[in-house]
């Protein structure tokens, strides 16, 4: 039963990560992405997926997906039917699943964050409905596979499990909310395991939307730079296998890290603009720390939301300053969006994986695109690849609609 819950832990249990999968423009999988994040590589290129000749911005971080299978067997036919978002999601989920060493057959919650689901199929549906209104061929399939819940079902089918699918669509905070919700499910004993993360593919509607808001950078994405002029979009998927500590220990699972805190709140200031004072952003970081029982002094690295828009970064800088207090001047901060772009519903999950990589490898992801740090931030922007002790990392996600969320991850030792 979802309510009242079948099982509840007498006290919160520790939640560990035993699998992680990631797909971004840096590459497919943990290794390619870890190398890219560590080096501060930027993966932007001219958009090829749709026409951007009439847009202000022309660059995005596109993922190079493996070619769809061409054979005529059933699995290949299914594979060819899947849209980019689903294919990236399946790749990330498969990597996390394999790394965790989980087997199918069990009832397992799947919690996903997304902003568009299979939006490219939705776009194709509308195009055909407008251009050839009498033709319904292919339309039912597009409708079915456009829906985010269908992509969740595809994950279960591919990995051999079935369970409740929860899709959280809190704009750019969706991925962090999904991980936070799954963390709460495991932490409170509702379930021993959960698969969670986020995914989103580049699509014309979203690109044109951010371009219409003049939120896309016509030059280069430079979060927290004094001369920043906008964000760059990316695409991808990231999935974590979350598990309560004791069962993971019993089966000798490799533990990649631990999620120790989560905070979420709503900024009611404006649909697309954060409150200039950064109150809510500060509150989510504080709440995440409170749930973990630590303070800013124990945080070794902040993966900022850091979109590169003037308003977001100014607000986040103020919020980090206030939250970190005396810790701020020595606190390493960077935004991996400088390398992979803004992954929207996948952003929080991909950035949580980047944090895991940093605490596993004991290095800080740099932002090589930074030219002159905005003095509004009293913290230290990581500008060059560097090894560093990283025991606890904080990941921020602040989205449209005022959806703010922060997640805390800790090194497992």
């Amino acid at each position: 039963m979802l309510f009242p819950p079948n099982q509840t832990a007498a006290a919160p249990v520790r939640v560990v990560v035993t699998g992680a999968g990631i797909v971004t423009a840096l590459g497919l999988g943990w290794r390619a992405n870890a190398d890219g994040f560590r080096a501060g590589r930027a993966a932007f290129r001219p958009v090829t997926l749709f026409d951007v000749s009439r847009q202000r911005a022309r660059l995005a971080a596109e993922v190079d997906l493996p070619a769809a299978p061409e054979s005529d067997d059933a699995a290949s036919r299914v594979g060819r039917r899947l849209d980019r978002a689903t294919r990236m999601l399946l790749l990330a989920a498969g990597e996390a699943w394999g790394q965790a060493g989980w087997t199918g057959g069990e009832r397992l919650p799947l919690v996903l964050g997304t902003t568009g689901g299979g939006m490219t199929l939705g776009e194709a549906y509308v195009k055909q409905a407008l251009a050839r209104p009498a033709l319904s061929r292919g339309q039912p399939t597009r409708i079915v596979h456009y829906q985010a819940q269908r992509q969740g079902l595809e994950v279960g089918a591919a990995l051999g499990f079935r369970g409740p699918i929860t899709i959280i669509a809190n704009a750019c905070a969706s991925g962090t909310n999904a991980l936070g919700h799954a963390w709460e499910l495991v932490r409170t004993g509702r379930t021993e395991r959960a698969l969670a993360g986020g995914y989103d593919a580049l699509c014309q509607l979203t690109f044109a939307g951010f371009d219409s808001l003049q939120a896309l950078s016509p030059t280069r994405c430079r979060p927290f730079d004094a001369g920043r002029d906008g964000l760059a979009l990316g695409e991808g998927a990231a999935i974590l296998a979350l598990e309560s500590l004791e069962p993971a220990r019993r089966r000798n699972a490799e533990i990649l890290g631990e999620i120790i805190g989560y905070g979420a709140a709503t900024d009611t200031h404006h649909l697309t603009q954060p409150h200039p004072g950064g109150d809510t952003a500060c509150a989510t970081m504080t709440a995440a720390c409170a749930s973990a029982g630590i303070g800013p002094a124990q945080v070794d690295y902040v993966n900022a939301h850091g979109t590169g828009t003037p308003a977001n970064d100014a607000t986040e800088a103020l919020a980090i300053n206030r939250w970190a207090g005396p810790r701020a001047p020595t606190l390493p901060v960077s935004s991996t969006k400088a390398g992979i772009g803004h992954l929207l519903g996948a952003a929080g999950a991909a950035e949580a994986v980047a944090c895991l990589m940093a605490i596993r490898g004991q290095w800080l992801p740099p932002q090589l695109s930074l030219i002159a740090p905005d003095p509004a931030g009293r913290f230290r922007i990581v500008q060059a690849p560097a090894d560093a002790p990283v025991r606890v990392a904080l990941s921020n996600s602040f989205g449209f609609g005022g959806a703010n969320a922060s997640l805390l991850l800790r090194r497992w030792s």
Partner: protein, 341 residues
Amino acid sequence: MVVSRVFVRGLGAVSPAGWSLPALRAAAEHHEPLPVQSLARPGWAEPLRVRQVPTPVDRPRILAHPRLRRSSAISHYAVAAALEALGPDVADGAWVAERLGIVVCVMAGSVCYSRRFFEETLRDPATASPLVFPETVFNAPASHLAACLGAGGSNYTLVGDNGAYLQGVALAADWLLNGRVAGCLVIGAEETDWIMADALRLFRRRAVHSAGAGALYLVAEDRAQTFAELVAVTDAFSFADRREQVEAARRMRAQLPAGAPGELLCLSTRNLPGADLAEENAWGDWPGARLAPKVVLGEAFTAAAAWQCVLACESLRRGKFKAANVSVVGASQQAIGARFA
């Protein structure tokens, strides 16, 4: 204080029957399908059939809020239903700001502005409206509602088929149990657009697309003046095809009490024989009364599931039944049920 029980404190609805719970109740009790309206479909001479939410006789004052002036109909419906459910508690500003949670559940979401913005993009992306794009985001209605109320706490938008609404109810109950919130609005909301009506027609030619919102206002037990208790929300049983749908409905039904003559079963059936098969099989032996509001109101996905819950709880408030089961077999994802008493 440890919370162990969750109660319903308020109900709200916007539907093709009108902008209030009494209008919804009157239509449901009348049992006659509401009239359908024509909706132009570009490229076709023949219009689509829908059930629209009527223009309100007295425009709710909240629609003059700056956040709602340019927003889509789905946000208007969600806010109006939520305010009706919240009732006088809306005046408790500090409590709303800090202790009220919001869960908005959608399937199609802001489809009118999404379709409109994409059409503008196809014509010329350089002139697509920056005022429209933000309203296309799934969580726009939840954001507008939070702004109208000044609610800065937990706020999730869930996407899924009809059953996402009951997932939202369970999520709210969880937040109440663990003390994250002291009250929570759970809203299901959808809007009509030709693109949705066209899509629905491809699967069920006789189905009528409709729109609106329904809201439950749930509280922990320390808040007085409640009239129904949330007894259970079943597991969400996923299905990928019609065969699995039958089994999912059966398993959902097995998690709820068998029922008694003085109880109500509120179904998601639409009087479409093929489409209703799984749910009819699952509840064939139900001994009590039945209500199927979608037969009267049309298919509004998460909003329709919310209407089911609202009508079930309203029947308890009026003392017509001792308990009510709600059965939701969704369009594309899950079978899930709930019980109120």
